[in-house]
């Protein structure tokens, strides 16, 4: 599996660290316990397209949002998390 880092270019999967769903970018307001519970624990688990956070750990150290199909392993898009979170 290869991920096309917007900064470094096409790189091997072993340079990256997987964190989890890109839901982590949408932090709810403090005090909203239901939303925080959802934010931490409730996840979709589709057999299809997901958006996840990956860290280019052994590369430029950027956080990336990688859109991929978990059934086919196809990577559909890679964006900098800092751009997505704007």
């Amino acid at each position: 599996m290869r991920i096309n880092c917007p900064i470094c270019g096409d790189r091997d999967r072993r340079e990256f660290y997987y964190l989890g769903a890109s839901d982590y970018l949408n932090r709810p307001a403090e005090g909203d316990l239901d939303a925080i519970h959802k934010y931490l624990h409730i996840r979709e688990n589709p057999a299809g397209v997901t958006k996840d956070l990956w860290h280019h750990e052994a590369g430029c150290s950027s956080w990336l949002v990688v859109e991929r199909n978990v059934s086919t392993h196809e990577i559909l898009g890679v964006e900098l998390a800092s751009e997505v979170a704007k």
Binding site: G9, G59, C60
Partner: protein, 177 residues
């Protein structure tokens, strides 16, 4: 006053020549990491103080003995000079790294076995952050080969891993067709 003995990172391990390849250690130099603050402009000030401006992503800039490497997103290494006061996070990295050069005809084959980069696409002065074995490394393409920088504590491991592969590549080249 005690006189401390300065030792390089790969002291006693390098240089080594196997087949057509040579692995040598580069002398330790003054080195600082520079991470400009958000939106801060430091290139002009660096150029004025050291003669070298910031390189593009994945590149190195150099003039005389001073060099600046791109080393990560928003991070650069200034080598061979002391940085001026800048709107940036500056950390002294001198003595913290081990720097070696792998040169020789079969150097690309050796790198191909330990590093996931497509090194054929790198030109002179290109810089990449990647892995050598399990070590995170800075790799710079030089005219005479590949410069590989790892954390100083990995000097022995780096030398060991590269030596093993140099022996293996040389032995395979000597096999009859």
């Amino acid at each position: 006053m005690i006189d401390l003995i300065a030792k390089s990172a790969a002291e006693g391990l390098l240089p080594v020549t196997i087949g057509t390849m040579t692995l040598t250690e580069l002398p330790l130099r003054k080195m600082h990491s520079i991470a400009p603050f958000k939106g801060a402009e430091v290139s002009a000030a660096l150029k004025k103080a050291t003669g070298v401006s910031l390189p593009d992503t994945g590149r190195a800039t150099a003039k005389d003995d001073v060099e600046i490497l791109w080393t990560a997103r928003g991070q650069y290494f200034l080598i061979g000079a002391t940085p001026p006061k800048l709107p940036a996070a500056i950390t002294d990295q001198s003595d913290a790294w081990c720097s070696v050069v792998l040169s020789g005809e079969s150097a690309p084959q050796v790198m191909a076995r330990v590093c996931p980069l497509d090194l054929g696409q790198m030109g002179e002065g290109d810089v990449a952050r990647s892995l050598v074995g399990h070590m995170t490394a800075i790799i710079v393409k030089r005219a005479d080969g590949f410069e590989i920088m790892v954390f100083r504590a990995f000097a022995k491991t780096l030398t060991h891993e590269l030596r093993e592969v140099m022996v293996s590549v040389t032995a395979q080249a000597a096999l009859p067709e």
